[in-house]
Amino acid sequence: MTREDWFRALEQRHSADLQERFSQASVAICGLGGLGSNVAMALARAGVGTLYLIDFDRVDISNLNRQQYKASQLGLYKTEAMKQNLAEITPYCKVMINTVKLTEDNLSLLGDYEIICECFDNAECKAMLVNGTAENYPEKYIVAASGMSGLHTSNKIRTRKLGQRIYLCGDGESDVQADGTLFAPRVMLCAAHQANAVLRIIAGKFEV
């Protein structure tokens, strides 16, 4: 599959105009667990031009129930494992990786990216990223997730907006500490909401 083959196939499906928007887009994905690994796959398949993947952690056996890694990748950094997996799907997505823990002190790493996906698992880290990005970069779009644990109904997962540029996906209430665990389908549903919100923003469709 040449670069030309890949983009021609995408243009046939998405239209040349929309695919041009996707190809020009740069999206940062903060956290590569159940949310981030699925968001990355969906955006790469849609032909988003550049993905910036940030995570400090390694692939663990406890991740395989919902995250897009393989047994053969146990022990690898998630950034490197996801870069491999995306390259196997399409070698024509530009994937930048940074194996680092995002904190209040290094949010400037996100400076070049117009759309930021919050894909952490820890509630305080989620709040830190949303607040820190909104305060320091009010022009950016933030697509965050909260509430996708347990075996609750699929239909509670939704996308809503906070202000003009923050999108919140999830049911807003199911907490992994109360539910005990996360299951692939509900995490993937929430990640799919995030990825769809990103594509809609790129397409200029800002309503939810």
Binding site: G31, G33, G34, L35, G36, C119, F120, D121, N122, A123, E124, K126, A127, V130, N131, A134, E135, P138, A144, A145, S146, G147, M148, S149, L162, G163, Q164, I166, L168, G172, E173, S174, D175, V176, Q177, D179, L182, V187
Partner: protein
Amino acid sequence: MITVNGAGVENAQGKTIAEYLAESGYDKKRVAVERNGGIVPKSSYDTTILQDGDSVEVVSFVGGG
């Protein structure tokens, strides 16, 4: 009247965001607060006073991902 998460709230007028969050049982480390369309910086929670007509949205993040 002040509206919080879509519902009218009595007795919030004149309180700071920090006071309102504490009295309502929110964990300040897990929330994002929008007031009249803009995110309130965390550093302003102690000095932002809720006023009549304010529309506030408090999001309390839960764990999992």
